[in-house]
C-alpha cells in the first residue's frame, strides 16, 4: 500500500517539484494550495504524513499546525514543515506549534524522499536529523 502524503504549498513550481519527487519515490500525493483546503482534504482522506509550507496565503502554516493538532482525527499525523530558513527561530516555532520535523529549502532532490521516509518511520515525537 502506497503511503499517502498531503502536500500543502502555494507556490506551483515548488509544489510540482515536491510532487514529482514524492511520486517517483513511490508516494501517493494529495495537494492543497492553502491551509484551509489542506485541512478539508486531510479530514476527507486521512494522509499518512503532511508536508506543510509555512508562508501560506491567509492562514499561515503555524495556525494550520495548531488546527491540525486540535482536531482529534488528525492530531497524530506527522507534520513536516518545509520552508526556507530565512528568519531565525522558524525551526523552533514550527516545532513548538506541533511539527514533528523540519526540512529546509532548497530541497535536495537526492535526499528528499529519504527524509520523508525517515519521518514516517520514526516515532511521533522524535525528529530525525
Amino acid at each position: 500500500m502506497r503511503k499517502r502524503v498531503l502536500l500543502i504549498e502555494d507556490n506551483p513550481e515548488n509544489f510540482f517539484l515536491m510532487q514529482y519527487l514524492l511520486e517517483k519515490g513511490g508516494f501517493q500525493v494529495m495537494g492543497a494550495d492553502n491551509g484551509w483546503l489542506g485541512i478539508e482534504m486531510a479530514l476527507f482522506n486521512i494522509p499518512d504524513i503532511i508536508l506543510l509550507d509555512i508562508q501560506l496565503p491567509g492562514m499561515d502554516g503555524y495556525t494550520v499546525m495548531r488546527r491540525l493538532r486540535s482536531t482529534p482525527e488528525l492530531a497524530k499525523i506527522p507534520i513536516v514543515a518545509v520552508t526556507s530558513y530565512a528568519m531565525a527561530g522558524n525551526r523552533e516555532l514550527a516545532l513548538q506549534n506541533g511539527a514533528n520535523g523540519y526540512i529546509e529549502k532548497p530541497i535536495d532532490p537526492d535526499a528528499f524522499t529519504g527524509q520523508i521516509e525517515a519521518f514516517l518511520n520514526s516515532s511521533n515525537t522524535e525528529v530525525p536529523k
Binding site: E13, S84, A88, K105, P109, D110
Partner: protein, 576 residues
C-alpha cells in the same frame, strides 16, 4: 418625404392592429402560464431552503441575493439535477422551527449532533468542517478555557456553541454564564457593548467579522463539528442521497467545482483580512526599502574604494566625495525612516528570492539525476553550470541577508550545548569534495578536551564552513589542517592552510565587508567578500574572537577563540 410617409403608414398599421396584438399577447401569456403550471411540477422539484446570516458559509449579499459556500454548492448540484431552489431568509432558530414543522425542505449549514439526528434527517458526507472559537475584546487576556471562569459568554440561541459551552462549563467545573442572541452579528455586538466578556462562534464567521466589532480571536479553539444540509425527519431521503453522491464525487480531486467554491469564499476572507491597498502599499514600501538598502550598500562600497584613490588625487575629487557622502547620509536617513519595515522586508525578501531558487535548484537536480530521461554529456555539463550558478546565487542571497540582519541588530542566536566532533565532521564531509577535486589533503586533529561547547549550532557551522571553504578556495597545493584545544576556559580552534596567504597591508582590512585578497589582474575569486565579516560578527556575538596570521605564498592560519561553558563536562543527570 418618402421616408416620412412610410413611417406614418407603419404607425397606422400598428395602431389598427393594436387591439388584435393585445389579444394575441394575452392568449400567448395564458398558454405559457398554463404550460408552466403543468410542466414545472413534472420537470423540476422546487426545494425551499432556509438560510441564516452566517458569512461566508451562508448569507445574503448586499443586493439581497443568497450567497455563500453552501448556496454555491447546492446551486451547483441543483443545476446538475434540474432542481429548482427557493431560498428563504430567517433567523437561525426560526429556520430550525420551520424545518420541524415541514415548512422548509432543507436548512443549510447545520452542525451534526446526535440530538439533532433524532429530529432532523442529515446526509452522510459533510459539506464543511468547523470549529468553535472564542473571540474577546482586544486586549482582554483570554488564552485558555479556564480563563472563561466567572465570565458571561455570548453564543447563538439553539446553536451547538451554546450547548457546548453549557456542557463544558459543567464538565470542567467552570462558572460560565451563557448569554444568547438570535444572530451571529448580535452575538459579537453583545461583547462589543460590554454585555458579555467573550463570544463563541464558528471560526469562519468569527474570523471574518470579529474586527468589525473590535474583537480579536483567542487561542481557544475546540470541538470540530461537521456541517450539513438538514431535512425534516424522514423526508427528502433521495435528495440527501443525491447531495452525498455529488459531494463524494467532488471531494475526491482538488480540481473540482467544490474546491473552487471553497477557494472563492476563503480568498474573499483573505481579502477582507488585508485590504488590497495595504498589500500594494507594503509592496511599494518594500521595493523602496530594497532600493534604499542596496543603495546604502553600494554607496558605502564605492566610498570606501574611492577614498584611497582620491586622497592621492586632487581637491576637486574630494568635493565629489563630499557630495557622495551627503547623498549617502540622506539615503541612510531614509533607510532609518524605513527601519520599521525592515523585519517585514527581510522575511518577504528571503522567502521571495528563495522560493524560485528552490525550484531552479530542485529541478536541475532532478534533471542531473536523469530521473525524467537520459542526458548527453553536453547537456549534463550545461546543467551542472546552472546548478552551480544557482547555488552560488543562493549563498550570495544568504550573505546579503545576514549582513542586513547584522546591521539591523536582528541576528538572533540560539545558544545550546553541542558536541564538537560531529559538527566538525559534518563540515569536513561538506568541504571534502571540493578539496579532493583540487588534490588537497584535509587533516583533522581531534582532541578529547573540550568535548562540548555552547554555541548557536547553525551559525557556528556556518563560520566553520566559511573558513574551511576559504582555505580550500585560496590553496592550490598542500593541505588544510583543523585542530583545537582548551586553554584557560576557552576553546582555541585553528584552521591552517598552505595557500597563497594574505599580504600584510590587507590583514587589518580582512574582516571588513567587501574585502577580498586581490592578486592583481590575473586572478579573480568568486564571492562577495562578505563571509569573513559575517563570521567575525557571529563569533563576537557568541563572546569570542577571530584572529588571522599569514605569510604570502606560505599560507594562512585563522584562530577562533570561544568561551567554554563554566561546566564543560557533559550533563548526565537531570539536575544540571
Amino acid at each position: 418625404m418618402r421616408k416620412g410617409s412610410k413611417r406614418c403608414f407603419f404607425m397606422d398599421y400598428i395602431r389598427s392592429r393594436g387591439e388584435e396584438i393585445d389579444r394575441i399577447l394575452l392568449y400567448a401569456f395564458l398558454i405559457f402560464a398554463f404550460a408552466l403550471f403543468i410542466i414545472v411540477p413534472f420537470h423540476a422539484k422546487t426545494l425551499k431552503v432556509g438560510i441564516a446570516q452566517n458569512k461566508p458559509k451562508v448569507y445574503w449579499d448586499e443586493q439581497g441575493n443568497p450567497s455563500g459556500i453552501f448556496v454555491d454548492i447546492l446551486d451547483y448540484i441543483a443545476e446538475q439535477e434540474d432542481w429548482e431552489i427557493e431560498y428563504q431568509k430567517a433567523a437561525w432558530d426560526e429556520n430550525l422551527q420551520l424545518l420541524e414543522s415541514n415548512q422548509l425542505d432543507l436548512v443549510a449549514d447545520v452542525a451534526f449532533t446526535t440530538d439533532r439526528d433524532k429530529i432532523y434527517e442529515f446526509h452522510q458526507i459533510p459539506v464543511l468542517f468547523s470549529w468553535t472559537q472564542i473571540f474577546a475584546r482586544k486586549g482582554f487576556q483570554i488564552s485558555r478555557l479556564e480563563d472563561l471562569n466567572g465570565l458571561r459568554v455570548a453564543a447563538l440561541k439553539n446553536s451547538v456553541q451554546a450547548s457546548l459551552l453549557q456542557e463544558m462549563g459543567k464538565g470542567l467545573h467552570l462558572d460560565i454564564t451563557v448569554v444568547t442572541a438570535t444572530s451571529f452579528d448580535e452575538v459579537l455586538a453583545l461583547v462589543r457593548d460590554n454585555k458579555a466578556s467573550a463570544a463563541a462562534t464558528n471560526y469562519h464567521f468569527g474570523k471574518l467579522n470579529a474586527r468589525r466589532y473590535n474583537l480579536e480571536e483567542t487561542d481557544i479553539l475546540f470541538e470540530p463539528s461537521s456541517l450539513h444540509f438538514a431535512a425534516p425527519k424522514g423526508r427528502h431521503i433521495d435528495i440527501l442521497k443525491t447531495i452525498d453522491k455529488h459531494l463524494a464525487d467532488q471531494k475526491r480531486r482538488p480540481d473540482t467545482q467544490y474546491y473552487r467554491i471553497l477557494k472563492k469564499h476563503t480568498s474573499e476572507e483573505h481579502e477582507h483580512g488585508i485590504p488590497i491597498w495595504l498589500i500594494w502599499g507594503s509592496l511599494a514600501l518594500i521595493s523602496v526599502t530594497i532600493l534604499l538598502l542596496v543603495t546604502v550598500i553600494i554607496f558605502r562600497h564605492q566610498v570606501h574604494k574611492r577614498t584611497a584613490e582620491l586622497k592621492r588625487a586632487n581637491q576637486d575629487m574630494e568635493k565629489r566625495i563630499e557630495e557622495r557622502t551627503e547623498e549617502l547620509s540622506l539615503a541612510m536617513h531614509k533607510a532609518q525612516v524605513a527601519d520599521m519595515l525592515k523585519s517585514a522586508f527581510l522575511a518577504t525578501m528571503s522567502h521571495e528570492l528563495r522560493t524560485p531558487l528552490n525550484s531552479v535548484i530542485g529541478f536541475t537536480g532532478i534533471l542531473l539525476r536523469q530521473m525524467p530521461g537520459p542526458l548527453n554529456d553536453e547537456q549534463k555539463k550545461m546543467l551542472s553550470i546552472v546548478q552551480n550558478s544557482a547555488r552560488h546565487l543562493l549563498s550570495l542571497i544568504n550573505d546579503v541577508l545576514d549582513i542586513s540582519k547584522i546591521e539591523a541588530g536582528e541576528l538572533e542566536l540560539h545558544m545550546k550545548e553541542i558536541e564538537l566532533v560531529p559538527i566538525i565532521e559534518d563540515v569536513f564531509a561538506l568541504i571534502n569534495p571540493q578539496a579532493e577535486e583540487k588534490g588537497l589533503e584535509l587533516n583533522l586533529r581531534v582532541s578529547d578536551h573540550p568535548r562540548f561547547i555552547i554555541v548557536d549550532e547553525r551559525r557556528f557551522e556556518q563560520v566553520l564552513i566559511n573558513l574551511m571553504g576559504n582555505a580550500v578556495k585560496f590553496t592550490f597545493q598542500g593541505k588544510i589542517t583543523l585542530s583545537y584545544y582548551a586553554e584557560n576556559n576557552f576553546l582555541i580552534l585553528r584552521i591552517e592552510d598552505t595557500g597563497i596567504g594574505i599580504p600584510n597591508e590587507m590583514l587589518s582590512k580582512l574582516f571588513q565587508p567587501f574585502m577580498q585578497v586581490d592578486m592583481g589582474i590575473d586572478r579573480k575569486f568568486e564571492g562577495t567578500g562578505l563571509g569573513l565579516f559575517i563570521s567575525r560578527k557571529i563569533i563576537e556575538m557568541m563572546g569570542g574572537s577571530i584572529e588571522v596570521q599569514s605569510e604570502p605564498d606560505k599560507g594562512s592560519c585563522f584562530t577562533i577563540k570561544l568561551p567554554l561553558s563554566p561546566q564543560e563536562t557533559p550533563c548526565e543527570n537531570e539536575s544540571c
